[in-house]
Amino acid sequence: MRLINRHPGKHGARLLAVVPFIALIVLYLTASAVRHAANPMDKLLPTLSQMASAVNLMAFTQDMATGDYLMLTDTLSSLQRLIEGLVISIGISFVIGIAVGMLPYLRKLCVPFIAAFSMVPPLAILPILFIIAGIGETAKVTLIVIGTAPFMIRDLIMRVEEMPKAQLIKAQTLGASSWQMALRVVVPQMLPRLIDSLRLSLGPAWIYLISAEAIAAQDGLGYRIFLVRRYFAMDVIIPYVIWITLLAFIFDVSLRLTQRYAFPWFAGAKSQ
């Protein structure tokens, strides 16, 4: 049989999916064991037990100075920034995306500007943000918004423009005004697409969050990683990275599930 027609069975598929993860873990543990055999003080590749005790210290022990559980406070502040930024970004891009996608005058007015604005590297204007907004929360949230909104706006404008023209003609022949069309035809069909757009924006949002925290913050996951870097504390950094990855993964899965259950028509309509 041709290679493209060979499929793994159900168990085979599951096994294949975990292979790379197991391979990575085995590779790491071996390398770590080898390094520790040569030098018991090695900091570069900490052993599992070293990481466990670091996690215990960060996540399950009260900090002596503040009485907080550091990993918890870090996670909460980071999530707050991330969610604030994304919510603002979604709000802005949904309104602008749909209005611009639907109205030719706005399209002529905004599309070139948005295209130019989205070329500005967000990290390059971070210093400007710090100067204008100070190094508080506003600058970090703004960075996430600037980093993600232009993409989402452009994506939505394209999705609106990509709607079959026949649908909008049809809506007009059924007597819909522009506003009614937005409300009953365009918005409901854009909501699931917004979720797709948001899923793609999560990666960049984390990048900007961690960058902003690395540069100026008192807490947060990114702040902590860059802080302990000074002490080569790989035993803290690695669990933090895994934790961030896990959080991002949970976000992604819950968005996907939301899309599936809140918009049951979407999968079928997309495949048509």
Binding site: P164, K170, Q180, Q189
Partner: protein
């Protein structure tokens, strides 16, 4: 009296003449089939009738008044595809025209009004044989069911003219025969004028009261657009005899 008057229209795209000197009077309540070779401009003509496209020269009048520059309630459409809204259920699709009419800002009916509208929508679905599928989404329907839904939805807006662009060409012969019967019944029940573009000559004659053939005289010559080469009366509208008297 004539419902649609097409007066000497031309359509020219980048110096390629697509339609040339088309003049046509379509009587109120007639069923006009338009046939012709692929690319001769049938869809273009229909798009002008729905104000999606505008003629280079000439004019189109609806009951003596020039067509508005955008699609309106009195001209319903059914396309070959994408005619219904994928995010609304079958019932929701049929309900939509009533909701748009009744609720200017929300575009949505609530409470007892919604209940009544739903009853009306269900009656329409019953009429086109889709009552059992009321809660399905369009993607879950067969092609024939989707087109029946599109007809039902268009009719809910009570258009005076219904424009059909190859509405049944994606259907298999059996389904097509069923939907022909339905279309004919719906047309007879309403006082609608129907203009249908089709590739299927037998369909054109079976449904139409009049068949118009569009053709380019010399297909390769871009300066000679398609004209009406035949205008064949098929049969008068059954009810018209009484109405005209």
């Amino acid at each position: 009296m004539s419902s649609i008057e097409i007066k000497d229209i031309w359509q020219i795209y980048d110096s390629r003449v697509v339609l040339e000197k088309i003049s046509l009077n379509i009587e109120q309540g007639s069923f006009v089939s338009i046939v012709g070779p692929s690319g001769c401009g049938k869809t273009t003509l229909l798009r002008m009738l729905m104000s999606e496209e505008f003629c280079t020269r000439g004019s189109i009048l609806l009951d003596g008044i020039p067509l508005p520059a955008e699609p309106t309630l009195e001209r319903g459409v059914v396309f070959q595809r994408y005619s219904v809204f994928p995010h609304l259920t079958v019932l929701g699709n049929v309900l939509l025209p009533m909701e748009l009419k009744a609720s200017r800002w929300l575009g949505k009916l609530l409470g007892p009004k919604r209940y009544n509208a739903k009853e009306e929508a269900r009656a329409m679905l019953e009429h086109v044989g889709l009552r059992h599928a009321a809660d399905f989404y369009p993607a879950q329907l067969s092609g024939g069911m989707q087109q029946r839904l599109a007809l039902a939805q268009a009719l809910m807006a009570k258009p005076r003219v219904l424009l059909l662009d190859e509405p049944f060409s994606a259907l298999d012969p059996g389904t097509r025969a069923d939907i022909h019967v339905l279309t004919k019944r719906l047309w007879e029940e309403t006082k609608m004028t129907i203009v249908m573009v089709t590739h299927d000559i037998s369909e054109a004659f079976r449904l139409g009261t009049r068949v118009i053939v569009l053709e380019r005289p010399t297909p390769d010559d871009p300066t000679k657009g398609a004209r009406i080469t035949h205008d064949i009366p098929v049969r008068p509208r059954a009810k018209d005899k009484k109405g005209a008297a």
